[in-house]
């Protein structure tokens, strides 16, 4: 029985050293029933505080939290019918794995035989059935996290909250657990709220995500939309690895024609784009490393010198210095003969460029019109 959530003007402030710190700034959003919703952003953006308010572990300073239209803001954690998986796993060290997973059921006074049945079913699903009678310290990090997930799922919660559950695991395990969690979402019928600073997790697992910065949600959209149509430079550079290249550019107008000069290249602007950019003289130009192509020097939009080359397997990530001294990254499949300090040319489609406002960072153009 999944629920739909509504966060209504949710606000959290606290006083530190006599100053008021705003952790969550009038957050207002809806989460659909059964959705996998992720709050993503850098440290200190307010995502964990938001999650903890939904859990009831932090009291909201202002605003409401509604589960299926019912106001739960004043209801204590124990009665909210949520389940939570913590960043530091938080398994009870003096109880066996079986007792850990069964704890929520024991608290709800479920019958012993029923507890055993449900615990074993969950353990089977999470592939830890053979670990049931061991103590948490005997398990590896990944297994412990699975026990924690089992403990959360065993009471079939309406809302499952996960607070950076994979950050304590190594890279390979993280990738495996991502798939597991995704599979889990498909099989259980709960609304999942996930918090992470890892944009890969956010992109691969979510139905929709909210990119948070300084207590505000700067963009709420599906992963694909956030990737293709980032609302601001911050979102554009946060989502996607390696980060989008963003350079300073100058808008020049001569006669009736407008051009953007930057990064050692000059791009002409269509009248439509020029009109959209209005009175600006400076701006920020962005392009993703994957959108750039390497060509012969002089054959592309700009020339550069190859500084560094990182092999990633199929593709390489190269650091290139442009004519005006700025550095950008390009990702692609390049000839092995390509050596450092070689002169190269860079080409890209006009549609892959982004233009950002120099001060606000808002995205002004998604791709340049032909």
């Amino acid at each position: 029985m999944a629920v739909a959530l509504r966060l209504e003007k949710l606000r959290k402030t606290f006083v530190q050293d006599g100053r008021e710190i705003v952790a969550v700034d009038d957050l207002d959003l809806e989460i659909a029933s059964g959705e996998f919703f992720t709050f993503v952003g850098p440290s200190g953006c307010g995502k964990t505080t938001t999650l903890r308010m939904v859990a009831g572990l932090e009291a909201a300073t202002a605003g409401r939290i509604l589960f299926d239209g019912e106001d739960v803001t004043r209801i204590p954690t124990q009665r909210r019918e949520i389940a939570m998986v913590f960043q530091d796993i938080a398994l009870f060290p003096y109880m066996s794995v079986r007792a850990n997973i069964g704890y929520p059921l024991k608290v709800s006074k479920v019958e012993r035989s029923e507890i055993t049945r449900r615990v074993e079913a969950i353990a089977e699903m999470l592939a830890i059935r053979d670990k049931l009678d061991m103590m948490p310290q005997q398990l590896s990090g990944g297994q412990q996290q699975r026990v924690a997930i089992g403990r959360a799922l065993v009471k079939e919660p309406k809302v499952l909250l996960l607070d950076e559950p994979l950050s304590a695991l190594d890279a390979r395990l993280r990738a495996e657990m991502r798939t597991e969690i995704l599979r889990l979402h498909r099989s259980i019928k709960a609304t999942i709220i996930y918090v992470t600073h890892d944009q890969v997790e956010a992109m691969t697992m979510s139905t929709r995500l909210a990119m948070m910065q300084k207590g505000r949600a700067v963009q709420i959209d599906t992963p694909r939309s956030v990737f293709r149509h980032p609302a601001s430079e911050t979102v554009a550079t946060f989502i996607g690895t390696p980060s989008m290249n963003v350079l300073d550019g100058r808008l020049q107008r001569e006669g009736g024609a407008a051009t953007i000069a930057g990064g050692g290249t000059t791009l002409y602007l269509s009248d439509e784009d020029a009109a959209r950019l209005g009175e600006l003289s400076r701006l920020r130009l962005g392009i993703r490393p994957q959108a750039l192509r390497m060509v012969a020097p002089g054959a592309g939009l700009a020339d550069g010198v190859l500084l560094l080359r990182e092999a990633l397997g199929f593709e390489d990530e190269c650091l290139v210095e442009l004519a005006d001294g700025s550095q950008i990254k390009i990702v692609g499949h390049f000839s092995d003969a390509l050596a450092e300090n070689a002169r190269i040319g860079l080409q890209a489609e006009r549609a892959d460029f982004y233009v950002f406002h120099p001060e606000t960072g808002a995205t002004l153009c998604f791709g340049l019109k032909p």
């Binding site: 859990a55 009831g56 572990l57 954690t77 124990q78 960043q87 938080a90 060290p93 608290v107």
Partner: protein, 273 residues
Amino acid sequence: MTAELARRWVRFTALGVGLIFIVFPLYWMILTAFTPRAFLFRPPYKLFRLDLSLENIRELLSATQFLTFMGNSLIVAAGAVVLNVVAATLAGYALSRFRFPLKQTFVAGTLWTYMFPPILLAIPLYLLLSGLGLRNSYIGLILAHVSISLPLNIWIMWQYFQIVPLSLEEAAWTSGASRLRALVEVALPSAFPGILSAAIFAFALSWNDFAFAFILQTDIRMFTLPVGLSTFVEQSAIHWGLIMASSALVSIPTFGFVFFLQRYLMSGLSIGK
């Protein structure tokens, strides 16, 4: 002989001498406890005696009120331990989890008790307990002992609860457990060594207390062991055999307590790290 070997011998010799200083009085006490009165001051004073007897112990148990004293000491110590553990656990938990005004003042205040020698506090305590009608009672003496051991025990439990991560309790709350239930089922087991340390400290302080028991208990039937045993010395002839026998018997519970629980005591002393 190498320099290393010589150093080891020096070390062991020094340790051996120190050991003799510590062990010999205990040994002599036990030896005297089993020596009949007649042989006590008659030379030669041999280090090893074969003619040991239970005469002193028999006399102790039948002719004196030793058993009454022992009983009183046990009752008072047990009461002090229970009260200490419950109060220190709740106070330590509150200090570690809640924010409230004057917290620092409270914490500093609890340490004030240790600025004064107990005998100085005994007189005001006597007046206070008399006013409450608790003079010469078990409760009164228990409260007096608790007033000395509780502050430090609160500190100990506070430190232990700080080690328990809050996320453990939060995991219990999100599993539906109330705050109290989470405290008992999740936080306490992790803080258990602290409880044992607090119990040992409370027991030792109560068992060995002379000042408060001497001033507060006026009836010989309510005397605890330290006070009761001091009466042996008031008699015209000091019966050393009896005193040594009683000392030996009195030290057994404390010795047993600490011996079996010493590892918890050691961990309790090092939690500050």
